[in-house]
């Protein structure tokens, strides 16, 4: 059942949903039941804008290995950008 493991953080950016691009201002991260990926639990990431309703959501559902790889890759890219003087 539901693990209820969930965290929310405010962010700034844009996401492309079913109706096109929109401003995302929050990301919801959970390790709980996914809707699509064939796993009992997954690392679910939802980029949302709650002011625009529940449909303003860009979703991904990852297995834990993929989630860790994503985190490491993001950090590596940001580090490279920092070293290159872009940040």
């Amino acid at each position: 059942m539901c693990t209820m493991i969930s965290k929310t953080v405010k962010i700034g950016g844009s996401g492309k949903g079913t109706a096109g691009w929109f401003t995302v201002n929050q990301v919801n991260v959970s390790y709980d039941h996914p809707f699509h990926v064939p796993l009992e639990h997954a690392l679910n990431i939802d980029f949302v804008n709650e002011a625009l309703g529940p449909g303003a959501r860009v979703a991904v559902e990852l297995n834990p290995e993929s989630a860790n790889a994503l985190v490491e890759t993001i950090q590596a890219v940001l580090k490279q950008a920092e070293v290159g003087g872009y940040l």
């Binding site: 209820m4 969930s6 959970s30 039941h33 809707f35 309703g53």
Partner: protein, 251 residues
């Protein structure tokens, strides 16, 4: 039992009911055509939301002769696709227990207000809905049978309690007011077999009427034909046990 020479008809539609604190929430409702009397059943959806599987289950109970209602426990999250609404509820850590119990009480009261109910109302839920069903059967009077399918977090360590789930449901076992059927997979991790046994010991201690069935080769959600957790043999037997149990106490 249905036989091929019977007339069969069903009405199924969205209705509005009064839930927690009088809030108006929507629900999916199905009932056989005819004067009744029919037993009632409240169907409590799971964390993945008020989705197509729960519509199918509502129709399934209608086919089996029940006036069946599945309230949308996520109604206050706004409206959209069931997945988008459920994702919002998931991010929020689910809905408060008090609110869910209030909504389920409202669904039960709705059924009891109907002229064709046989004066018996049960409650059935899966996953978080199994937990909510058990909670409601403990905290609200008026249910005549409860079915908890793999409801996790019935047994909860103190450090895992939250403001929305401030009390472990097992603590309410002494208040359980009707017979309980529990359906569990032996490979489930929430509830674990140890947690199921712990709950069973509490039911025995409190002298409650219950049946627990544990299925080898099955994990969490093994009735869900649209998920890889589906286990055909166990699911068929589990459904048979659900309807046999409800027939015993509601018909």
């Amino acid at each position: 039992m249905y036989t091929t020479n019977m007339y069969e008809g069903m009405l199924a539609e969205t209705v509005m009911i009064h839930g927690y604190q009088g809030d108006v929430i929507n629900a999916y409702f199905a009932r056989p055509l005819g004067p009744g009397p029919f037993p009632g059943i409240v169907l409590v959806h799971h964390l993945p939301g008020w989705d197509e599987w729960y519509r199918e289950v509502t129709l399934k109970f209608g086919h089996h002769g029940y006036a069946a209602i599945s309230p949308n426990l996520y109604c206050r999250e706004g409206h959209g696709t069931p997945e988008d609404v459920a994702a919002k509820a998931r991010a929020a850590g689910g809905v408060p227990d008090d609110q869910a119990v209030g909504d389920l009480n409202g669904a039960m009261q709705f059924l009891r207000s109907l002229p064709y109910i046989n004066d018996k109302v049960g409650i059935f839920g899966t996953c978080s809905g199994g937990r909510h069903a058990f909670l409601a059967a403990c905290r609200v009077k008026g249910f005549d049978a409860v079915v908890d399918c793999w409801g996790g977090r019935v047994v909860v360590a103190n450090e895992d309690l939250t403001p929305k789930q401030p009390v472990a449901p097992i603590e309410y076992t002494r208040d359980l007011s009707c017979p309980l059927l529990g359906i569990f997979g032996e490979e489930d991790r929430s509830p674990t077999p140890e947690q199921v046994t712990q709950h069973e010991q509490e039911l025995k201690k409190q002298g409650k009427t219950y049946e627990f069935h544990r299925y080898p080769g099955a994990g969490h959600g093994f009735f869900y034909h649209n998920r890889p957790s589906y286990r055909q043999e166990q699911a068929v037997d589990g459904w048979n046990k659900v309807f046999a149990f409800l027939e015993k106490y509601l018909i």
